[in-house]
């Protein structure tokens, strides 16, 4: 029987809620494992979960330097979508979308996946043409996409300023109806519990300080809780990839670490029941089930490992919100925070074997890490178990930059802060 069910809730309620098991154990690290996953965020935990579930590899440790889910899995703006132009990205993110659609059931943990749609607003005729092209590209690959008129948008989001006198008048939009949001902490907790119940050791407060080697091969890690050996060492430390790779002696990567801020307003009555993006700047907004508006914009735009941003971006994001929703001018911001993004040179991730023998690399998620969580772990687990990539992550190699095989969905070139 499932651990969480209507029956178990009732039974434990009657028993005073004293019999719940912790969702995951707090084991001490063993001397060695088959696989070590560095990074106890969404991607590391989902990798461990799928290693155990899909490949039967359960002698696995997930090492987390802080507490579980303290990084980007708890810092994002929770949007889930697969509305990409290029087929490599579309196939991968659509696989993720399909895993999302069954995730609460698969994990027996309510991740509150809400398919409320994601609407990209167009403000110029050329942009609308571009969205039509992207929508067609999506539909060619079996992904849902609909071009919306201003009247349809007005009915969907009545609070939006769609008048001709808006600072950037809305001319239409591209909707992906199956997109939406999920409860980000629940994703981390659900994967952690699923992995733990299958025998994976989740070791918190365990920071990797170096790599153990036998010749050129990576054979384990040294940590703040001692040395741990493993046949395979997998990195899922997005945001800190540059730093951790330097510990392994690789000083240069096609990655810059940037800080991305996110914001939550005070709770409001329902006002936006989709994920909405602004087309004349960089701004996205949704409303949480508690009523807070969850929104964000651009990176601060310079290398940072600080997990906090500065005021110019706050000002810019608020300006963009008011360009769309003048009626929100007096809503108060409740909280803001920053997360670290691995920005690659083409805006697409890296999920691959190597680059050192015994090492596996999962990084470079740019803005897109949260929605990728299920497919990232699923593909990474496949890559670790089989020592070769699945077809969904085969394009996301590290050497694609040097072989002319970049996957640049926005066509921005090798300028990470613009992706």
């Amino acid at each position: 029987m499932a651990e969480y069910s209507a029956f178990s809730l009732l039974k434990n309620a009657l028993a005073g809620n004293k019999d719940w098991k912790p969702a995951w154990r707090k084991p001490d690290p063993k001397a060695s494992y088959d696989v070590i996953v560095i990074g106890g965020g969404g991607h590391g935990l989902s990798t461990a979960y799928y290693l155990a579930k899909e490949h039967g590899i359960t002698n696995v440790a997930v090492l987390e330097k802080g507490w579980l889910g303290s990084g980007n899995v708890g810092r994002n703006t929770t949007a889930v979508r697969s509305n990409y132009l290029l087929p490599q990205n579309t196939r991968f993110y659509e696989h993720s979308m399909k895993l999302w659609e069954n995730l609460s059931h698969d994990l027996n943990y309510n991740v509150m996946f809400s398919q409320r749609g994601c609407l990209n607003l167009a403000h110029t005729p050329a942009q609308l043409d571009d969205y039509a092209r992207r929508g067609n590209a999506m539909r060619h690959l079996g992904v849902d996409a609909e071009l919306m008129s201003v009247d349809q948008i007005k009915r969907l989001v009545p609070a939006l300023d769609v008048s001709g006198s808006a600072r950037f008048p809305v001319l239409g939009g591209l909707m992906q109806p199956r997109a939406g949001t999920a409860r980000h902490d629940a994703v981390a907790w659900g994967y952690a519990r699923g992995a733990d119940r299958r025998g994976v050791d989740i070791i918190e407060n365990c920071e990797v300080t170096g790599f153990l080697r036998d010749g050129g091969r990576i054979t384990g890690v040294s940590t703040t809780r001692g040395e741990i050996r493993a046949k395979k060492v997998a990195l899922a430390v997005a945001g800190s990839t540059g730093h951790v790779m330097q510990l392994a002696g690789i000083s240069h990567m096609p990655i810059e670490s940037h800080v991305l801020q996110a914001f939550v307003s005070e709770s409001l009555k329902p006002i936006v029941d989709t994920v909405l993006t602004f087309g004349m700047g960089h701004f996205y907004i949704s409303q949480s089930d508690k009523g807070g508006l969850v929104y964000g914009g651009d990176l601060d735009g310079y290398n940072s490992y600080a997990q906090r941003g500065s005021l110019p971006i706050v000002d810019e994001v608020m300006s963009e919100m008011l360009a769309l929703f003048p009626g929100l001018a007096r809503v108060r911001m409740l909280r803001s925070w920053g997360g670290l993004c691995d920005m690659t040179m083409d805006g697409s991730p890296i999920v691959t074997t190597g680059p050192l023998p015994g090492m596996y690399l999962n990084c470079g998620w740019c803005y897109g890490g949260f929605k990728a969580t299920p497919a990232s772990g699923w593909c990474f687990a496949y890559t670790i178990a089989k020592d070769e990539p699945h077809e969904f992550n085969a394009p996301f190699t590290l050497d694609r930059f040097y072989r002319g095989l970049i996957i640049d969905d926005k066509g921005q070139g090798a300028n990470p802060r613009l992706h």
Partner: protein
């Protein structure tokens, strides 16, 4: 965050355009060394700590600057012209991010 431009003095970061890792070396234009070009275009030193980087004072004097900045604290340690290095800024009145 304030950046002290050697010409203009301490100015808000919004006046500047970030151009990233200042350690990269552009190969000679006629070079056919693919590895060197790949490294120049795609590879970045991405340290958690002091970072040598290039900024342009695009909203001011338009000079290109070589800035050493800590990526954990955002503290700016030095600012100088990217080319020549004949004038450094006085960084005493330095920034808080």
């Amino acid at each position: 965050m304030l950046i002290t431009c050697p010409y203009c003095g301490p100015r808000d970061v919004i006046e500047f355009t970030y151009q990233g890792d200042g350690n990269r070396e552009r190969p000679q234009p006629a070079s056919q060394d693919l590895d060197a070009w790949n490294a120049y275009v795609y590879d970045r030193l991405n340290p958690a700590g002091d970072h040598n980087e290039i900024w342009q004072h695009s909203g001011g004097c338009r000079a290109h600057l070589r800035v050493v900045r800590n990526t954990i604290t955002h503290e700016i340690l030095s600012t100088a012209f990217a080319r020549g290095g004949h004038k450094s800024a006085d960084n005493k009145a330095e920034s808080r991010s």
